[in-house]
Amino acid sequence: MKNISFKIDGRNCTAEQGQNLIEAAKQNGIFIPTLCHFKHLNPLGSCRVCTVKNNGRTIAGCTLNVDEGMDIEVNTPELLDARKAILEMMFVEGNHFCPSCEKSGDCQMQNLGYETGIRYTRFPHLFVDRIVDARPERIVVNQNRCIKCKRCIEEVRTTDGNRVFNFTNRGNKTLVSIDYEQEAKLSDTQAEHAMHICPTGSILVKGKSFGKPFGNREFDYSNKEKNISFNEIKKHKTTHKKKRIATTSLAGCFGCHMSMLDVDLGILDLIEVVEFNKSPITDIKNFTEHCDIGLIEGGCCNTHNIEVLREFRKNCDILVSVGECAIWGGLPAIRNTVPLEECLKEAYLNSMTSEENETIIPNHEDIPKILNKVYSNHEVVKIDYHIPGCPPNANHIWNVVKHILFEEEYSIAYPEFKYD
């Protein structure tokens, strides 16, 4: 095979003529992210995450074979943003609730989210309600997590060479359906291969999804010790007035506040340079002064949440959404896939502990009204920063706060940046 030379982002690279761009780039030490491309499979070009520019023309990198003199752009700001946008679309198109997903930590899409630094999505979530199919013999297919990459369709076959998966429907109704008969013929290894080849948590093998414990998974990084220190910002003590912080929990679970307290002794240094105004930490119920920064945990699920959020916007210079619930609704947003009425009926009328023939759903002038769906905070007011995680790591939260209040540079360490 003839060796050719081409350029990636202006760098000279060499490869065999006709080699797949993803592989060729890898050999030259350049990583092009992709969710559908898989070793020996013919280029699928379905996920578009590997979008690059060839001689100025946008194209899916995995469908490109390198040739002499090609000029490829991979990591330009424009393409990095485009790739992030494509990935964000995948996140909003399905239901990707990382905290409750068995694949978390082994999930390629989740990992790409970290790599591309997605903190929030610029598109509204669709909150689809698709089938979770547990009828197959060994496999559970959760259609809500499927990104239609086509990997399983091309790769998973029985020993006789028959396909197990295939597309049904068209357009945005496309689903990956399962041939139950063929699925029953899969060996254990073949079934597990299907689970591993899936870039999300869509295909799971019954009883095997927790086979690898959290912490030892492919994209898990060992959690470093808490090393947050406020010592260096104490120098601001003499030059600055104490900065004021306000915090609140809307439709959250107080887990993010617990995480804030997880700085342990760090909090003693912290209160030397900042003071807390309205916050569950100080039990100050109303704003007494204008604050520099407001940390919001939880999204908006009732009218009271909205009032509090607007009050925070009015009384704080900078607002930060802390945690998944604040950023896009988080787990409580699973209720967006179900009509509100059904949720209320289930909780107050039909639950096992409710009285027989119960007809009352709590409704009182003093109780805030429940909203039709759970809203993210930036749908209601302007939010300046987002800290993802369920809950975010304590270091991460306070690093961001330090950065905002005292203009201290910081970089997020991988283990600190988490969706689950």
Binding site: L261, L268, K285, T337, A347
Partner: protein, 146 residues
């Protein structure tokens, strides 16, 4: 007249109290509202049962372990395991988790929520009765608590 206490503090969670007074200044009606409705009862349905423990953890970030174990017990019933027949390891692990939760939650409540009331007395001004004031006035004590 109506007295509204919101949010209710010294408790781990969201709450609101409204007290209605009549013209003579006597209490006519009193309510404790738990205003946070998130619909977990409904939306955990339809998920594979092994997801339930992790889902319900998010009911409360202060006592996630209690909810986790409650879901685990529900799964026991689903798959027909008598609590008596659980393996000793499973029982011990659950107990350990629960003791850990109780210990953490009690110390959080005592040091972070209740200690300011006890140390400063309930006659002290409200803005002083919090953990930040404790930490400012007696750092050594706060350190021990943390």
């Amino acid at each position: 007249m109506k007295i509204v206490i919101e949010p209710v503090t010294r408790v781990e969670g969201h709450g609101k109290v409204t007290i209605k007074m009549n013209e003579e200044g006597k209490v006519e009606d009193a309510f404790l509202h738990i205003v946070e409705f998130r619909g977990f009862e409904k939306f955990i349905q339809g998920h594979p049962y092994w997801e339930a423990p992790v889902l319900v953890q998010r009911l409360c970030g202060i006592c996630p372990v209690s909810h986790h174990i409650a879901a685990a017990k529900a799964i026991d019933q689903l798959v027909g395991v008598d609590p008596e027949n659980l393996t000793p390891t499973a029982t011990k692990l659950r107990k350990l988790l629960h003791y850990g939760q109780v210990f953490q939650s009690h110390s959080l409540h005592f040091f972070y929520l209740a200690s300011p009331d006890i140390l400063f007395g309930i006659d002290a001004p409200a803005e002083k009765r919090n953990i930040v004031a404790v930490a400012t006035e007696n750092q050594e004590l706060a350190k021990k608590g943390i």
